[in-house]
Amino acid sequence: MKRTRAIAFALLVPAFVLIGSAQTGTGRIGGTVTSPDGPVAAAPVRATHQSTGRIFSTTSTTAGQFALMDLPPGMYEVSVPELGLATMPFVEKNVNVAAGQTTTLNVTLVKGNHGVIGDDNAYLTIRKKYLNVRGAAPRLADGRPDLSGVWNANVDPNPEAPALLPWANDVWKNRLSTAFRDHPDGFCLPGDPTPTIALFYKFVQTKGLLLLLFEHEPHYRQIFLDGRAHPQQADPTWMGHSVGKWDGDTLVVDTTGFNDKSWLIFATGLPHTEMLHMIERYRRPDLGHLQVDLRLEDPGTFTKPVERHMTWELAPGEEILEDICTENNKFPEYAGVK
């Protein structure tokens, strides 16, 4: 087996130069996003001008094609984030854009975890399956938006680096250098209270309660919508205590009461203290999408709040399945951490 690596073909092909661009003196980057399974639809593609830092974004079509228009000339960094668990992030630097020309960049994504069966492909497949979910966001009888549904979660395509206090930075770097071997999730404990795991979340909303179901520990979250406050004194918990209030059509969820055992933002694994305060904002702009904005405040850990901004997609034909982690968890032994 050959080790597959990210391969990018940055080809300046004058013959392919299309009609230039709408704005005089600008250029384009165009191409196709593919994975070993074929064209990748709905992939966010971002070009950052390497001198000015200006960012241009687009999304690939169902055929995987993308076009970034009206780009000032210069060198760009073109990136595609990890897509669910399906593919690894793609970054290509020094993509040259000249005025009046189109630079062709075909993006070949490598499967996440190098394609181990059963963890990656499924979610990319499902993403493609439900690309054309259309319609207005549903509402409950009380007029509030109904966030219910099975959501195929995504990560933030442009995650900002966290600003950590020295102790937290040390802990985090140690986690990275040890390949997350001590992540609670590997021991069938709740891995992360934040909504950043790129798998399914099922939302069940009633007038007074939003219930989140998912296929990892502890398998549920309760978000109380009945006006109650956080308890004055309660034992800290893995997932904390969540209450939600409506800000127009946006549900604002406030969570406190965390213990300090979880690792925040699933793929990032940040430490935190019991001072953690999580604010989530959920908005359903249409039937098929959920905008998820996350803010984490913890003066014991962060020098400024950590934010993530994600768009999830409805997976209406899917269902949450049972997943009992302790049934046959060999990870501690096989990773040598038992």
């Binding site: 984030p81 181990v116 069966i117 990319l124 399956k129 680096a161 999730d185 699933f266 046959n328 968890n329």
Partner: protein, 131 residues
């Protein structure tokens, strides 16, 4: 949910630069050590957080048979790829491509599983069939 966790790949902004990191995948398997194994299935564990195949692999030189343990994703992930728990049976011959375990002999994960009898590559077909 470690089934999903173990193989996660993430973009991490570290010291201002973007790096890709394998998390528990890297703690358990060495992606730089690929292995191709062919043998008959002796046992299947259709369990969470991972499903496992056990196959008897004969050494091409000596003929000595070693039982290998092959880790895959979670049953939920496999199900969503169109697998069922009875898709493979003990006695079926398969060829597995994957990465070697770091801490345990005769352990690998599976990037692909091909059934010898049909030539069918399991796991890849469902996305090829997706619209």
């Amino acid at each position: 949910m470690r089934g999903a966790f173990i193989f996660i790949v993430a973009t991490i902004a570290l010291d201002g630069s973007t790096v890709a990191a394998h998390h528990s995948f890297a703690a358990e398997f060495d992606i730089t050590k690929s292995v191709t194994l062919t043998g008959k299935i002796t046992k299947i564990e259709w369990t969470n957080p991972h499903a496992f195949l056990f196959i008897d692999v004969a050494d091409k030189q000596t003929g000595a048979v070693t039982n290998w343990e092959i880790e895959m994703g979670s049953p939920n992930g496999l199900t969503r790829l169109g697998w069922t728990r009875t898709l493979l049976k003990p006695g079926d011959e398969v060829t597995v491509d994957g990465s070697l375990g770091r801490n345990k002999a005769n352990l690998a994960n599976a990037r692909s599983v091909v059934m010898t009898a049909t030539g069918k590559k399991l796991g890849a077909a469902s996305s090829e069939g997706a619209k």
